[in-house]
């Protein structure tokens, strides 16, 4: 009897793996294999000059990235951290203010406004970025320069210097990311029990006090996972910076790099595969450390 149960259990888990096999196989090919292969290449000097006859050179790619200051990696890393911080702060503040305004009781057209504000999220991302690039920032027919001209100023090359490219990329990124954050905040605020506010108002609490002692503590646990996800996507943002400033053959002259565009450029423009792989692995380690630090406790018990 006992033997039978054991046998059945053994068959059971084989069965589970069998049904999961196609999914796990695909993940193995497209997710796991590239990481292992990249880790291997990062130890070699593979590049255009050493396409087949590459050899293992140990950790010197890592040393170049981390200890040679003009390699560009540390600069890109700093820019990426700054980029993530700036974007997150502006996004959270804007989303909070807009969601608070949307939740004012007597606003009747709330639904219409919400739908209109969802458009940047619903549009295909690359299309929006290209529309911004050509429609807004283009030196000849971009809307911004048309307005500048109307005001009697000279046309500005918005994407050509580091600082102004950073600002432009931030504007576009916030435009793209705000709807999601707004929706999350709005949902969180609607879940707060209205009677808290009523009794607080009766006690004479000001709007600021109500926000500080009721709204913020109530929504914090609800929005936390979404905020962490957004930190990841902002840190890993590639499309905005790449499409706006450094498409092949259409570089705008800004030297702005995040670590992702930096790794991409080293792999596909200067074809320095070994070095680029080392950077990829460093990025991966950073992401893993960050996600272990902020992993929600529930996930551990799943």
């Amino acid at each position: 009897m006992k033997e039978n149960v054991k046998k059945k259990k053994g068959r059971d888990w084989l069965f589970s793996y069998l049904w999961s096999a196609p999914s796990l196989l695909l993940i193995g090919l497209i997710v796991v294999f590239p990481i292992l292969y990249t880790a291997y290449i990062s130890l070699t000097n593979m590049s255009v000059y050493h396409w087949f006859d590459y050899s293992i050179i140990g950790l010197s790619n890592y040393a170049r990235a981390l200890f040679v200051f003009d390699s560009g990696f540390l600069g890109a890393l700093l820019a990426t951290i700054l980029w993530t911080a700036v974007n997150m702060v502006i996004q959270l503040v804007l989303a909070f203010v807009l969601a608070s305004l949307l939740n004012i009781q007597k606003l009747r057209l709330r639904k219409l406004y919400k739908t209109l504000l969802m458009f940047p999220w619903a549009m295909p991302g690359y299309v929006s970025i290209l529309l911004w690039k050509t429609g807004m920032f283009n030196t000849q027919f971009g809307l911004l320069n048309q307005w500048m001209e109307k005001l009697g100023h000279q046309a500005v090359r918005w994407l050509s210097s580091d600082v102004s490219a950073f600002i432009c990329c931030t504007v576009v990124n916030i435009w793209l990311a705000l709807p999601f954050m707004l929706m999350i905040m709005d949902g969180a605020m609607q879940s707060i029990d209205k009677s808290y506010y009523e009794s607080a108002t009766l006690d004479g609490a000001t709007w600021l006090e109500r926000t500080r002692y009721i709204t913020v503590p109530s929504i914090r646990p609800i929005i936390a996972p979404a905020v962490i996800i957004t930190v990841f996507t902002t840190f890993k943002q590639f499309d905005v910076i790449y499409l706006l400033t450094q498409q092949m053959g259409a570089k705008t002259g800004s030297g702005l790099h995040t670590i992702l565009t930096y790794a991409y450029e080293n792999a596909f423009i200067t074809n320095n595969y070994g070095y680029s792989s080392a950077i990829s692995i460093i990025i991966f380690v950073l992401l893993i450390l960050f996600s272990i630090r902020y992993q929600s406790p529930e996930e551990g018990s799943a």
């Binding site: 090919l29 990481i35 295909p124 911004w132 048309q146 949902g187 596909f268």
Partner: protein
């Protein structure tokens, strides 16, 4: 009393005006593209530009559909998106069900590691994936992209649906089993209908991902006739059409409309299907 009402009314009007302004500012890039694509007299450099075109034309849209290979690209996109969604659901549903309902050695370890491994940016995998697919003859082949897209979205699909399956009470399934339903019947007749929101959202996310992906699509496929819409549009703006911005605007609007329709049709599923599974884990 009436003074208080008046003040409230004024405040509300100000708030509404503020929101109208915010919505307008938000929509400027889209409205501008729409207006340029419909404008017959394209003197864009003239200073009397307004958001409402003075004379309408559909010429730019006509140019999009006749002048370029856009119908071929549309066909490629639809085929690839459909195939990827079908394959994703086909492989992810049984896996998600097993990981949600059954207990087997390695289960927790795999679940935990999949999330960590999935944080590796897909764009950095491109070189390795190229080296993997080339010996298999899958470069410049739709099957190659199908495998890449399904694999890239596989962890998300698995986790998202597993999370939703977790919220469905096991009692229902046990009751059905007592009534004599086999394991396959339990899944197809009971679990899948209950899990509809998460299946829809998963399919939607995969669809939107494939529809919008341009880097793999341009790097792994050569020859314009093999491009997807995203790849084609990207190539267009990178090369010839940078001079013809009205036609590009028309193409951009055309490509976006299906995505907009799908997004707003399925918006009500977005919250329930995503938060129940993905976020809570």
């Amino acid at each position: 009393m009436s003074r208080k009402k008046l003040r409230e009314g004024l405040g509300l009007t100000a708030l509404n005006l503020l929101f109208i302004l915010i919505c307008f500012v938000t929509l400027i890039p889209i409205l501008y593209a729409l207006s340029v694509s419909l404008n017959a007299s394209n003197r864009l450099l003239s200073s009397d530009f307004s958001f409402i075109p003075k004379s309408f034309t559909l010429d730019n849209y006509l140019a999009v559909f006749t002048g370029e290979d856009i119908l071929t690209w549309l066909k490629n996109s639809i085929f690839l998106a459909g195939a990827t969604v079908a394959l994703s659901l086909l492989v992810a549903i049984p896996a998600a069900y097993c990981f949600s309902r059954r207990r087997f050695p390695g289960r927790r370890l795999i679940l935990r590691w999949l999330v960590l491994l999935n944080s590796f940016p897909a764009i950095l995998s491109m070189f390795a994936v190229y080296r993997l697919l080339r010996p298999l003859g899958l470069i410049n082949h739709r099957l190659g992209l199908l495998i890449i897209y399904t694999g890239t979205m596989a962890v998300f699909s698995l986790w998202n649906m597993k999370g939703y399956f977790d919220t469905i009470p096991v009692d229902i399934e046990e009751a059905a089993q007592i009534d004599g339903a086999g394991p396959v019947q339990v899944v197809t007749k009971i679990v899948l209908p209950l899990a509809r929101p998460s299946i829809i959202v998963t399919a939607l996310m995969v669809l939107i991902y494939v529809w919008n992906e341009y880097i793999y699509a341009t790097t792994f496929m050569t020859g314009e006739e093999n491009y997807t819409l995203a790849a084609g549009l990207y190539a267009l703006q990178a090369t010839e059409m940078s001079g013809s911005w009205p036609v590009f605007a028309a193409a951009a609007i055309t490509v976006s409309v299906p995505v907009l329709i799908i997004f707003f049709l399925c918006q009500k599923y977005m919250t329930s299907g995503l938060t129940a599974g993905g976020v809570k884990g």
